[in-house]
């Protein structure tokens, strides 16, 4: 298990708040790693610390074992794909992609070959002479990717890569990005607030909240075995029965069951039926049941139950 990027107790404190607070994590070489959390949780700040646009107030960042912290952004072998892509508007696609190589004064033949290879890799062949203004959102992203990948960085950082795209494009780009990462073998670190994105793309995810890392694990780990209430609720909807949490898709509805409730609404969503019910204590619960069981009506008295294996227990937490 080779760690290519390591953060040790990294903090970024501002006078008014702590954007990043004692974050430690270790990213394996060749992984597609995700930093997941709501806006303001510190994930973008963490990314910027790794890229070098800000410096940490405490802690260390190590790339292949050596500290990055004293290096400027242009001295680090780490590249960033910006949320807005930040393509240079006065240069062609080719000009943008060549930029980093030209800075390094790479020999011309080598440069041309490398640029062509990465252009083909992101499927922009034939569009090298276009200007950024003439490109679609997806094409712009590919230029941004190509521009960074051509430099063969140790780690590629992606800031909310899918947020600027059309919603219908996102699923497609998700799988394209994952395929690209596999093919190049470069370690990707993705920052996102969308848990579906993180779960579907990443090998490993660090869930962040208020500057701290709440949990690190595989997608399955954090979804099925969340360690804090926050992680549980951020990753998906939750039904709470005092200290016990159960996901709606694990909740069953029948005439009788563990928790008695009265049906408030029942909606056929196509792939499942979503039943909302209210307990005697006034707690509102949601159950997602197989589509064949579409026979509950508002006002019905029912019982909700679940498999104990699907329980998530959280002892009383201090906020």
């Amino acid at each position: 298990m080779e760690s290519v990027l390591e953060l040790r107790e990294v903090s970024k404190h501002y006078p008014t708040h702590r954007a990043v607070d004692g974050v430690s994590l270790s990213i394996e070489r060749g992984a597609l790693y995700g930093l997941l959390g709501p806006s303001g949780c510190g994930k973008t700040t963490t990314l910027r610390l790794v890229a070098g646009f800000d410096s940490p107030t405490a802690g260390d960042i190590l790339l292949n074992g050596s500290s990055l912290v004293s290096l400027k952004p242009y001295e680090r072998n780490v590249n960033t794909v910006f949320q807005s892509y930040a393509l240079f508007p006065h240069m062609t696609v080719r000009g943008n992609i060549e930029f980093g190589l030209k800075q390094r004064k790479a020999p011309v033949n080598d440069l041309d070959a490398r640029v062509q290879r990465v252009v083909d890799l992101v499927q922009l062949t034939g569009k090298e002479l276009r200007m950024p203004a003439e490109l679609s959102g997806g094409e712009k992203q590919r230029v941004a990717l190509a521009r960074s990948l051509v430099l063969a960085p140790e780690v590629l950082l992606l800031d909310e890569p899918l947020s600027a795209l059309d919603p219908n494009l996102r699923k497609q780009v998700r799988s394209e990005l994952k395929a690209l990462q596999r093919r190049t073998g470069i370690t990707f670190v993705i920052v996102t607030h969308d848990q579906e994105e993180a779960l579907s793309m990443c090998d490993r995810i660090a869930v962040m909240h208020q500057g701290k890392v709440e949990q690190i694990g595989s997608p399955e780990d954090i979804y099925l075995r969340p360690r804090t209430r926050f992680v549980a609720e951020f990753l998906g909807a939750m039904n709470w029965f005092k200290d016990i949490g159960v996901r709606p898709e694990s909740t069953r509805v029948a005439k009788t069951g563990t928790v008695p409730a009265v049906v408030e609404s029942s909606m056929f969503l196509g792939n499942c039926v979503q039943v909302r019910a209210r307990t005697a204590d006034g707690v509102s619960l949601v159950a997602e049941i197989p589509r064949e069981e579409n026979h509950f009506k508002p006002g019905d008295s029912v019982g909700l139950s679940w498999n104990p294996a699907d329980e998530m227990r959280f002892p009383q937490e201090v906020n």
């Binding site: 240079f88 508007p89 800075q103």
Partner: protein
Amino acid sequence: MKRHALGMYAVLIYAFLHVPLLVLAVFSFNSSKFTVWRGFSLEWYRTAFRDSALVEASINSLIIALVASLLATVAGTVCAYGLWKRSAPVLSESLYLSLVTPEIVTGISLLALFQWMFRFLRIQLGMHTVILAHVAFSLAYVVIVVMARLRTFDPSLEEAAMDLGATEWQAFRRVTLPSILPGVIAAGLLAFTVSIDDYVITSMVAGVDSETLPMVIFQMARRGVSPVVNAISTIIVVVLGGLVLVSERIQR
């Protein structure tokens, strides 16, 4: 109905703004010296070009404007960039102050400076003092125009450049500067225009051998109306107006 009335009103105001200049131009082609139209003639233009004092003053004005606008544009552009990266309130306020200072006050203050420099450094009034004065008062204009352009520039482009290996200076030179260039050129043209036209400040700090075009025109106008002044005025308006139009086009 309101729209129509407003439109007609606008026409009146536009007429108010533009007709006086048009009238000047029309009568610059009048063959008669008086304000009665006698026939088309280019005589006054010929007289203007033959007036050696006028020609010399024009050349002086051009040289001064070119040098001063160049210096002001360079200094102002890098200043705007510096301020854009992080504000420097003292400098900003001072520049703003120099902008709202009445021209006559700027003029006499610079005269006082140059007088002092004469007493202690033996530096006379001349083209160089005029150029310095022009740089002084056009600097703030350049900063404003370039700042306005910088506000539309995406800072993450510079970060992207640095991310890809460019130093701060390289990022400025290869990414930021090309992007704001239209604004810089517009600022330069503005500084040029302001410099060519200045009378008040220039008249106070110019030496005997560094008369500028506005100074000559002013003296001629003081003596009374003359069609030669009409002719020169028309030329000036056309040239400067053209420059302003070019500047607008560039900023598009």
